[in-house]
């Protein structure tokens, strides 16, 4: 901490230093957020396009030709570009929006501010982390424009499909760029995560013990550890795939004849790739989810004007979920022919996750009980998160059960499950975070009424899109189908498909409200006061105008945990962490 005192706060920064190659965590957070939002717009737009196809497979939409060129000739979507859109949609949503966009934004913004640090441990590495992410985004977007189309083997890029350009057009240059982009992404994410871990461990201000950390920080901290442990495994999986694709090795390939050509590869195993992929892939869903849960804890507690219920249980459940997330990856592979006993083990570990998850859900609900709820847009999105977390979590009990997974694996039941529990929950958490910390980011307020409209349209359409998909799964409809008209047995799903697509298009367009609110408010919004939500955490003790080093004078000292809301015997319904414990105050053990 002392080393940071040496910072020269009055050093004049050039435009480039301040806005482009910034080393200030607050600026880097905004860069992550805006890049993530742009990627999000692309990802959501793609989902609207393929929803057009799924609902009206035999109609022609001139817009498809405009946007997709030869892949949408005559306004009809090509099956290959359908798969490519689904693949890039999934990749962008999972990695670019909900990993980099979510963690990158809020870990960067909040870790130094909430633990009382002048900046990240290494501003330079932090800057590199953003620029690797930026480069990775550029490569991913460029891959959309190559001759044979972008990667199309699904966001899970299972070989041999992803390894053999003969197997599908997207497995040519598009796939190479996908791998390059993801490698850059992994570097970005590791640089970021190491920084977060070191910062949380070393740069906490005086009095900020681990048990006084806000739950946001706990979530970001554990998320970073998950990333450091799992992303390298994805990197090795990608590396071996690159070898198989370009240097003739056979890690994942054996006994293959494709497009009439017999390949010489022998001895490899495609299933090996799946083990490596899901060793990252499952922790990845918690890398997405935990920050959203952390944000929700903070937002719910602040706006319920109540301490988060069961702080220790909340920390414990984050740790339990994180630990378990490393030993459940096999639930994605129940029907790969794996040893049935191994399947049993994965069923057991997977269903165990329900316990800490249930604890979290109950604790959120109890935090609301007898609160004095301030229903801000952020609070509504957090309540929405709890709702989707429960709905989506419950169907996990089915998919985690190997016997039941046999019949719904890879169907729309899965699409419904993971969108609700991971996609919606995390997106809602991200929206909650933006609405809540916008005043901290831009010194201005977002427009409340637009926030309400945005929440309700999003919440209703989100359920409208994903809830009915459960029934399509129970009808046996496989995912990643370009159309389901090849099977008369699915003809009765036509109406559901149309309904889902209408919800999807309305919900997608409604995001314009948010985008508008965001940029309009960033420039013209009403000026925010220093602590607009009457919150306890340290970020609200910094000046509204951003300064390098965060606090003009000394870094404040912390005397209590972050959740003394509505504490009896206090005059206000909040007691900032910087307020010393009073003599006659009831000791709370924090």
């Amino acid at each position: 901490m002392a080393t940071h005192e040496a910072h020269d706060h009055h050093h004049e920064q050039s435009f480039i230093e301040k806005y482009v190659f910034s080393q200030d965590h607050k600026m880097i957070a905004k860069q992550f957020l805006i890049t993530g939002m742009i990627m999000g717009i692309i990802g959501v737009a793609m989902s609207m396009l393929f929803r057009l196809q799924l609902a009206w497979p035999d109609k022609q939409f001139p817009i498809l030709e405009t946007l997709l060129g030869k892949w949408g000739a005559d306004g009809t979507m090509d099956p290959n570009i359908y798969l490519a859109l689904v693949t890039i949609h999934g990749t962008i949503m999972v990695f670019f929006v909900l990993t980099a966009g979510l963690s990158g934004t809020f870990s960067n913004l909040l870790i130094p501010l909430q633990i009382g640090a002048r900046d990240m441990a290494s501003g330079f590495i932090n800057m590199l982390s953003y620029w690797f992410f930026f480069a990775s985004s550029i490569v991913m977007v460029v891959s959309l424009f190559v001759e044979n189309g972008p990667a199309a083997a699904g966001w899970t890029v299972y070989p041999p499909l992803s390894a053999l350009p003969q197997a599908m057009p997207g497995s040519g240059l598009g796939m190479t760029l996908w791998l390059v982009s993801m490698s850059l992404f992994i570097v970005s994410s590791l640089l970021g995560a190491l920084n977060y871990i070191v910062t949380v461990l070393n740069l906490r201000t005086k009095g900020m013990s681990m048990t006084r950390l806000p739950l946001t920080i706990w979530a970001f901290f554990v998320t970073a550890i998950l990333g450091v442990l799992s992303f390298p495994v994805l990197f090795s999986a990608a590396l071996l795939l690159i070898f198989d694709r370009s240097f003739g090795t056979s890690f994942y390939l054996s006994d293959i004849m494709v497009a009439g050509e017999l390949l010489s590869n022998q001895g490899g195993s495609p299933v090996l790739f799946q083990h490596l992929f899901w060793f990252l892939g499952h922790p990845e869903v918690y890398i997405i989810l935990l920050p959203a849960l952390g944000i929700t804890s903070e937002v719910i507690s602040t706006n319920a004007r109540k301490p988060i219920f069961g702080y220790r249980a909340m920390v414990g459940s984050i740790l339990a979920i994180a630990f378990l997330s490393f030993i459940v990856w096999g639930h994605h592979m129940f029907v790969t022919g794996m040893n049935p006993f191994l399947g049993s083990v994965f069923t057991f570990t997977t269903l165990l996750i329900a316990i800490p998850s249930a604890v979290k859900a109950f604790n959120y609900i109890t935090t609301l009980w007898k609160g004095n709820l301030r229903l801000t847009p952020a609070m509504l999105f957090s309540i929405g998160l709890v709702s989707t977390f429960i709905t989506g979590g419950l169907t996990g009990l089915i998919l985690g059960d190997s016997a039941l997974d046999i019949n719904v694996h890879d169907t729309y039941f899965v699409v419904a499950h993971f969108h609700i529990v991971m996609g919606l929950s995390a997106i809602f958490g991200m929206f909650a975070g933006v609405y809540h910390w916008f005043p901290k980011m831009f010194g201005r307020r977002m427009i409340k009424s637009l926030g309400y409209v945005h929440f309700w349209v999003t919440f209703i359409t989100a359920y409208g899109v994903f809830f009915p998909m459960h029934f399509m799964g129970m009808a046996g409809l496989p995912r990643r189908y370009y159309t389901n008209t090849s099977f008369p047995m699915f003809d009765d799903l036509a109406d559901i498909n149309v309904m889902i697509s209408i919800f999807a298009i309305v919900g997608g367009i409604a995001q314009v409200i948010f985008i508008f609110n965001f940029f309009y408010s960033a420039v013209r919004g009403k000026k925010a006061s220093r602590n607009p939500w009457k919150s306890n955490t340290l970020e609200w003790t910094t000046p509204v105008e951003h300064i390098h080093g965060n606090w003009p004078g000394e870094i404040p000292e912390v005397h209590r945990w972050a959740y003394d809301y509505s504490k009896p015997g206090m005059e206000d319904d909040f007691v900032p962490q910087t307020v010393p414990i009073r003599e006659n105050e009831v000791e709370t053990g924090h």
Binding site: P62, T66, P79, L83, A153, Y158, L161, A167, S254, D255, I256, M257, Q266, P270, V271, R305, F309, G310, A313, P340, T347, L351, A361, T366, G371, N372, L373, R374, L375, T376, L380, V386, S387, L397, D401, S402, A403, L404, I406, N407, D410, R445, I447, W456, P468, M474, P478, Y481, S486, F487, P488, M489, D492, A494, K526, P532, Y563, Y565, S566, D573
Partner: protein, 346 residues
């Protein structure tokens, strides 16, 4: 042209929102409300609380409506022996989920409404409650223990079937996948599949079956899958190019086909195609579908079992299917006698 239109509409939309916001603010200012801060007022809390309540009612109502409204689209009864066990486990899990859903969601939204804030209210300070937390850790744990035990027993019965004393050996059939079609290879009278490998593919030998292996000669290769009812069958899966997944939803069967390895699944079909066509749920479903097809001018459909591909495998993944016929022993034998053996094929 169209792009231009879209851009114009987009810009107009943004302007409209901006104007709406201005009107909102002006009207708030006229009413003397605190429009200067974007802070949440008591009135906001009331409105949003009521909306939460209304949403809850619509959500739960919609959920119930879907359960009834969509009961027809779901798969009919299981046509296999183990499928009945899966369906039991499914029903139990589903009921559990629905009960928890219908308890927690209303509580969540009701609390959102009931405890909506107001200036003069104050929240109750409550940090934790060990007894409560203990209860809601233990109760899910116990319930889950039950689910896990039941689930694992079912799984183990399905995946490690035991062939008892005096019971019939399962009939061995290979399911062969390639972009974008399925082929079946019956093991013939010896019930042994001949050795096969992609390296031996050539000419009419499209599955790469080894002609020098004595077990190969009586193998029978077909493009439709016929199965005798009530006779256990052991599927062996192979793929020629990429991963596919053999999905037989009516039998609750699924297994990936992985190039370079063999996978397997054993089960017993218990209902013939004809019996399934007579099932009331199936008839209802078929009637609904034919009504829709009629409106579209498509020919009427008759129910058939089908094998679908359920692992992304390329452009025609969505149309990789094989018809399955389950029939009586005699009908099956008759059909089989009309097929050519591998030896005849060569």
């Amino acid at each position: 042209m169209e792009t231009l239109l879209i851009i114009i509409v987009g810009i107009l939309g943004l302007i409209a929102i901006a104007q709406a916001v201005r009107v909102f603010e002006l009207s708030a200012a006229v009413k003397g409300e605190d429009a200067s801060s974007e802070n949440v007022t008591d009135k906001d809390n009331r409105n949003q609380g009521i909306l939460l309540l209304i949403f809850m009612i619509f959500m739960l109502g919609g959920f119930i409506a879907m359960i009834f409204g969509y009961s027809d689209v779901m798969l009919p009864v299981s046509a296999s022996e183990h499928g009945v066990d899966i369906d039991n486990l499914w029903d139990i899990s589903m009921w559990l989920i629905i009960v928890v859903f219908f308890i927690t969601q209303p509580i969540l939204f009701y609390f959102g409404y009931k405890f909506r804030g107001a200036k003069k209210k104050k929240a109750v300070y409550m940090e934790h409650n060990n007894r409560l937390e203990f209860i809601w850790t233990i109760v899910p744990a116990v319930v889950l223990a039950g689910l896990i035990i039941y689930g694992l027993a079912t799984w183990s019965n399905i995946m490690n079937p035991v062939i008892g004393e005096g019971e019939e050996e399962p009939m061995v059939v290979e399911i062969y996948a390639k972009q974008f079609g399925w082929t079946a290879r019956y093991s013939g009278s010896d019930n042994q599949l001949g050795y096969a490998n992609v390296r031996m593919i050539g000419g009419t030998n499209t599955l790469g079956v080894d002609p020098d292996d004595a077990n190969s000669l009586d193998d029978v290769i077909t493009t439709e899958l016929h199965l005798p009812v009530n006779r256990p069958v052991l599927f062996k899966f192979r793929s020629q190019d990429v991963i596919h997944s053999a999905y037989l939803p009516h039998f609750r069967v699924q297994m990936n086909c992985v190039p370079g390895t063999k996978t397997q699944f054993m089960f017993k079909p218990t209902m013939t195609t004809e019996e399934m066509r007579q099932d009331p749920d199936t008839q209802q479903k078929v009637a609904n579908i034919n009504e829709i097809r009629g409106e579209r001018g498509d020919e009427a459909w008759q129910f058939d079992y089908v094998l679908l591909c359920n692992k992304i495998c390329g452009s025609a993944h969505y149309n990789m299917q094989m018809k399955i016929v389950v029939e009586s022993e005699e009908e099956y034998n008759k059909w089989m006698s009309e097929q050519k053996s591998f030896a005849e094929l060569l």
